[in-house]
């Protein structure tokens, strides 16, 4: 490839500047995570040290309070005492349901939008774009009153279906552009052979659509997992997911040591995302660029 030869021709000062900048950026991007991971095994007096910031590294208070250099107190307090495991379980239920349902709805809709040449397709996509731009909190303020009145407020299924709906505009855009890249001849020849539209979709399109579906699914996962506005406002205490639970730890940080529960919970909630990027980096990158490259 040409980029290789261009790179070798880059003058040394420029190359040094670029590499230096990159090292600086990677430090800025990654250091906060490692710092917090490290600090989560300390006591509050060390991680939030009034005396000297190096205490977070050496941990004199941790040694004094617990006898060891590292402590799992924060994790124990968050997961067991404050029942973070329950929030984790709720998150699992919400995320799995949201991803499954939005992909089912989205593949059907996206396929129809990609194959129909009618003018209303444009309008549906434009409305979806406007919906995608709605701040989620504005929608939440529309849900509260009806949900209170119909007794829907506080339950996991409510939050799930709301997240599915909020997810639809993006899913439709992604999958429409993905299905447009699958040749029309494929399903049309199946229909010439006597398949109905749905049979053609089921027998011909479904077997070849998985790469696009997995990429879209990753982003549905991120939306459901990262959501705060909907889950914080629509779920009651019992059904809270991880992110609102972390926010609720913050309200109680006045008590000494409680802030370490939040730190441990934050590290616990970040870990699955780390793994996600580790295993699906290629799909995430291709998903992020798909919309851009195709217009």
């Amino acid at each position: 490839m040409m980029t290789g030869t261009v790179a070798t021709r880059r003058p040394l000062p420029l190359q040094a500047l670029l590499v230096g900048f990159l090292i600086l950026w990677i430090f800025v991007a990654a250091f906060p995570f490692f710092w917090t991971l490290w600090g989560s095994f300390r006591v509050e007096g060390d991680f939030f040290s009034k005396a000297d910031w190096t205490n977070a590294l050496t941990g004199p208070m941790t040694r004094a309070e617990t006898g060891g250099a590292m402590t799992g107190q924060g994790y124990y307090g968050a997961w067991i005492t404050h029942e973070f495991w329950r929030a984790g379980l709720n998150t699992l239920i919400v995320v799995v349901s949201v991803v499954t349902i939005s992909l089912t709805f989205g593949t059907l809709g996206g396929y129809a939008l990609a194959r129909s040449g009618h003018r209303y397709v444009f309008w549906i996509l434009m409305i979806a774009l406007v919906f995608r731009a709605m701040p989620h909190v504005t929608l939440v303020s529309g849900y509260l009153l009806p949900f209170y009145q119909w007794n829907l407020w506080g339950h996991l299924p409510t939050a799930i279906i709301v997240l599915v709906a909020i997810n639809q505009p993006f899913t439709l855009w992604m999958l429409t552009s993905f299905f447009q890249n699958i040749p029309k001849d494929l399903d049309e020849s199946a229909m010439v052979d006597g398949c109905s539209r749905f049979q053609a979709f089921r027998l011909v399109i479904i077997p070849v659509m998985w790469p696009g579906v997995i990429t879209t699914g990753l982003f549905s996962f991120l939306l459901a997992y990262n959501d705060f506005a909907v889950t914080a406002m629509l779920l009651d205490q019992q059904n809270q997911t991880m992110i609102p639970k972390i926010a609720s730890f913050l309200g109680t940080t006045q008590t000494k040591g409680n802030v370490m529960f939040a730190v441990s919970a934050v590290v616990s909630a970040t870990a699955p995302l780390f793994l996600l990027v580790l295993f699906f980096q290629r799909q995430i990158v291709s998903g992020l660029t798909a919309g851009a490259v195709k217009g």
Binding site: T3, W25, W35, L108, F131, A133, T138, S141, A165, A247
Partner: protein, 341 residues
């Protein structure tokens, strides 16, 4: 595809969007023109051995009857929109006539809650969007300059600030700039002020929120620009070199024009995302110093007596803002779509 088949395929998705996006927008509109009923009170006379006392109590039956007759509440028209917490028309009028100068005028207007939130949201969007795009472009150029083997890990670490939950990412930064955290301590020694605290200062809070915004949204620009750099037309680049174009000229006349459509796309997505900035303010606990429109709504909804009408009016104004921001894009897409068909 036949209309009927199309309808069946799109139905689940369309139904979800109509029920949980379109109808809530309607519901917000309705709520914003109705205020909750006031409780009906009645005077009752309690007589006992010491004489009679008149006291005022809530007439439960009448209050319920009132709610049943008009479940939406009292119709108040645009009153909520024009009250002090939203467009504050009469306050603006008063400020206009009493202000001593432009500076004073602007300061007083920004003290009104809605205008303050609007000002922060627009400032945040206007600063974070270009900075994130520029930084992302710089990272893309740098990653493009290193050996192929190292690019994977570089992309991995660069993606983290964007992938991580906004609330969590902002918390991680917030704990570091806490007066007792590592960055907070560094800031204090740099400024030579041991009392310096981001939590207590409005300009520092705005700056930190913007730093978080750039940190968390530049990876997206980076990934898109990096993908764009892989598809720069190599023959054009080569002919430019043969014609004696310098490195800067090649960047300006070949690479940048190639990346222009990507920049439009990035601008659209980034403006949409930055306009709804919300979680970092929750994480930074910064509601006292910086409110965005989303946070303003959230604060109303979280208030003990749930200010639904107030939140609804702000929501409608926010939605109008989104539509105004998006209108150039919609008009442009409409034109190109019209040409295509």
């Amino acid at each position: 595809m036949k209309h009927k088949t199309f309808l069946w395929f799109i139905l689940p998705s369309a139904l979800a969007m109509i029920l949980f996006i379109a109808l809530p927008i309607m519901s917000v509109l309705m709520q914003s023109v109705f205020a909750p009923h006031e409780q009906v009170v009645k005077e009752v006379e309690n007589c006992d051995v010491f004489g009679c006392k008149r006291s005022v109590t809530v007439d439960v039956a009448a209050t319920e009857a009132q709610s049943a007759a008009a479940p939406l509440g009292r119709f108040v028209g645009t009153d909520i929109y024009t009250d002090r917490n939203h467009l504050a028309l009469s306050e603006i009028g008063a400020i206009w006539s009493s202000a001593t100068g432009t500076r004073d005028l602007i300061n007083q207007i920004l003290n009104l809650p809605f205008y303050g939130a609007l000002a922060f949201t627009l400032t945040y969007t206007a600063i974070v969007t270009p900075l994130a795009l520029l930084l992302g472009f710089g990272i893309a150029l740098s990653v493009n300059a290193i050996p192929r083997l190292l690019r994977g890990p570089a992309i991995f670490f660069s993606l983290l600030p964007m992938i991580v939950t906004p609330l969590v990412g902002a918390l991680i930064l917030f704990w570091m700039v806490d007066a007792r955290g590592i960055l907070g301590a560094a800031l204090q020694s740099l400024a030579g002020d041991p009392e310096l605290s981001v939590k207590a200062s409005t300009p520092l809070m705005w700056a930190m929120l913007i730093v978080y915004g750039v940190w968390s949204s530049c990876p997206f620009a980076f990934v898109v620009y990096y993908a764009g750099l892989q598809t720069v037309p190599q023959d054009t680049l080569e002919s430019a070199m043969i014609d004696g174009a310098t490195r800067g000229q090649r960047l300006r006349f070949v690479i940048l024009p190639h990346l222009l459509p990507l920049t439009t796309f990035l601008l659209l997505i980034s403006i949409m995302d930055n306009f709804r900035v919300f979680e970092p303010i929750v994480s930074f606990n910064g509601g006292a110093h910086a409110q965005s429109l989303s946070y303003f709504i959230y604060a109303d909804l979280n208030a003990t007596n749930k200010l639904l009408s107030s939140a609804a009016a702000t929501s409608v104004l926010t939605i109008l803002g989104v539509i105004i921001l998006l209108s150039p894009v919609i008009v442009r897409t409409w034109r190109s779509f019209g040409r295509a068909t």
